[in-house]
Amino acid sequence: MIAVTHERIPLLTRDIVAPDDESGLIRRAQARDVGAFERLYRAHVPRVYAVCLRLAADPRRAEELTQTAFIQLWRKLPQFRGGSAFTTWLHRLAVNTVLMDFRSTRRRESRVQGAEDPASLETPPPAAPPGLRLDLEQAIARLPSQARLVFVLHDIEGRTHEEIAGLMDLETGTTKAQLHRARQLLQKALQ
C-alpha cells in the first residue's frame, strides 16, 4: 500500500486518480468521501455552471443553482448505477434543478399575482449579465425565459423537442414554436 506524508497534496492531486478512473471517484463519493466529491465538483463545475448560467441568465442565480445542483448530486449519488455516462446524468440533474427553480418561481408568482394567462407569467427579458461579453451570449440572456430555455436546451445542449417537452411539461408544438421564436429574436438582435 502506498502512503503519502500529507493528507492534502496540492501537487497533481487530480493526477493521482487519472481522468479515466472517474468511476473510482464516484464510488468513493457514493461512500460519502467528501474529498472525492470535491474532485468530481472541480472536474464538472464549469460544465454545470455553463448550463445554469445560460438557462438562468443571471450570474448570481446561476451560482446558487450550481450549488444546489451539486448538493442534490451529493444526495442522489448513491442512486447512480452507472447505467448512463456520469456527465450526462449530472447534466440532466443540473437542468432539472434549474427547471424546478423556474417552476417554483412561477408557482409563487402565480399565487401572488393570481394571473391566469400563462404568457403573463413569463419573466421579462433580463438585462444582459455582466459576466457574458459575447454578443450572442448577451442576446440569449435577453430572450424571454421560455424561449431562452428551449433555445439553450435544443441548440446548445442538443436536447430533442420530445425531451424538452417532457422536461418543461409542454407540447412539442410549443417547444418548436418557442425555438423558432428564439432564433428569430436572436437573428434580429445580431443584425
Partner: protein, 335 residues
C-alpha cells in the same frame, strides 16, 4: 423564414464554449452543505431549492445548513479590507479614483490604466504589484482563502504563506500559490502567461493541473486550461511546438517536435508529458526523460506506460517538482 435562414446563427451557437468557470469558488458553500446535511434525513427532492430566498425551513438541521449556505458568501464579503496604494498615476478602486492609499473591499475591482500602477498587501501573507492596463477583483479576504480575479493585465505576487492560501482566478485557469513569487498576465482574450521566479505555483482548470517550479513558465487558454510548463529560456521552436500540442490539436506531429527540441533543462516539460502524451508516444517521452533523470527504483517503464499516477508522482518528487513537506513517503520512493 425557413431553417436555412438560421445557418449563420447555428454556426455561432456551435462555437459557444461548453464550459464556463464560475466567477468564484463555489465549493466552500457546497462543502458546508454536504457536511451538515444528512442525505437520508432530507425530505423529497421536490421541495424548493436550498438557496431559494423564499424557502421556509421545515427541518431544524436543514435550516442550520441553509443559513450557513446563505450567510457564508455575505460573511466573506464583509471580511477585512486590504490596504492598497497607488504607486503611479491614478488607478481606480471600485467606482472612485485612487489617490494615495485606499481600502479594498471584497467584490471591488482595482483597475489601472496605461499610466498607473498599484500595490497592496495580501493580508499578512504577501504582497502584490499591479501593472498598467490591468483589472483585478478581490473575491475573498478570508485568512484561509485569499482570492483574486485577474480579468486582464499583469500582476506580480510574492507570497510567504503555506501552500494553498492564495489563489488568482483568470478566465482560463486558477493560479494556486504553493509558496512562491511569480508574474501572471492575462490578455484581452483571456489567455494567460505565468512565470514563476521562486517556489512553486499550480495552475488548475477542471481536472487539468500543471505544476510550475521556479524558472518555468506556463501558458493558459480559455476552455483548455493550463498548457505544459516549459523553461523560461526554452528555445522558440520548443515553445511553438508545445503551443501547437497543447492548444492547437497538434497531436503526434507537434509532440515529436517537442521531444526533438527537449534537453536536460526540460525535465519539467517532459514529466508533464508523461500523462498528456498519447499512449503510442508515451514510451518515447519516458525514454527521453529517463535519459536525463533516471526514475526512482519503484517507478517502472511499464507502470508509466500503463498510466500509473502514483509512479508519476514519485518521479516528480525525484525531479524536485514537489514542494518540501508534500512528498511521497520514503517507503515508496526507495522501494
Amino acid at each position: 423564414m425557413n431553417a436555412d435562414d438560421f445557418s449563420e446563427l447555428r454556426k455561432k451557437t456551435a462555437a459557444l464554449p461548453r464550459e464556463i468557470r464560475p466567477p468564484r469558488d463555489l465549493w466552500p458553500e457546497i462543502k458546508a452543505g454536504v457536511e451538515r446535511l444528512d442525505p437520508k434525513a432530507l425530505p423529497s427532492a421536490e421541495r424548493p431549492r436550498l438557496l431559494n430566498r423564499h424557502w421556509f425551513p421545515f427541518a431544524a438541521a436543514a435550516a442550520v445548513a441553509v443559513a450557513a449556505l446563505v450567510l457564508w458568501p455575505r460573511a466573506d464579503r464583509s471580511g477585512p479590507a486590504w490596504a492598497v496604494d497607488a504607486v503611479a498615476g491614478t488607478p481606480r478602486l471600485g467606482a472612485r479614483p485612487l489617490t494615495g492609499a485606499g481600502e479594498w473591499r471584497v467584490g471591488q475591482w482595482l483597475e489601472t490604466d496605461a499610466s498607473s500602477r498599484a500595490r497592496f498587501d495580501v493580508g499578512a501573507i504577501g504582497e502584490v504589484r499591479l501593472e498598467p492596463n490591468s483589472r483585478l477583483r478581490l473575491l475573498s479576504a478570508a485568512s484561509d482563502n485569499h482570492r483574486l480575479e485577474l480579468a486582464r493585465g499583469t500582476m506580480s505576487a510574492l507570497i510567504w504563506a503555506p501552500p494553498r492560501l492564495f489563489f488568482v482566478e483568470t478566465p482560463s485557469a486558477t493560479a494556486v500559490d504553493l509558496g512562491c513569487a511569480y508574474t501572471l498576465s492575462v490578455d484581452d482574450a483571456g489567455a494567460g502567461t505565468l512565470h514563476v521566479t521562486s517556489g512553486y505555483v499550480a495552475l488548475e482548470h477542471g481536472d487539468r493541473e500543471s505544476i510550475i517550479p521556479a524558472g518555468q513558465m506556463c501558458l493558459t487558454r480559455p476552455g483548455a486550461g493550463p498548457g505544459t510548463p516549459f523553461a523560461a529560456d526554452a528555445p522558440a521552436a520548443l515553445r511553438a511546438a508545445l503551443e501547437r500540442f497543447d492548444f492547437q490539436a497538434g497531436g503526434a506531429t507537434a509532440l515529436a517536435t517537442v521531444l526533438e527540441h527537449t534537453g536536460e533543462n526540460d525535465r519539467v516539460t517532459l514529466w508533464h508529458l508523461l500523462s498528456r502524451a498519447p499512449a503510442a508516444q508515451r514510451g518515447a517521452v519516458f525514454d527521453r526523460l529517463a535519459a536525463f533523470s533516471p526514475p526512482p527504483g519503484a517507478v517502472t517503464r511499464g507502470g508509466i506506460l500503463a498510466g500509473d499516477a502514483m509512479m508519476r508522482r514519485a518521479w516528480a518528487d525525484e525531479l524536485g517538482l514537489v514542494p518540501s513537506g508534500l512528498k511521497l513517503t520514503e517507503t515508496f520512493r526507495k522501494k
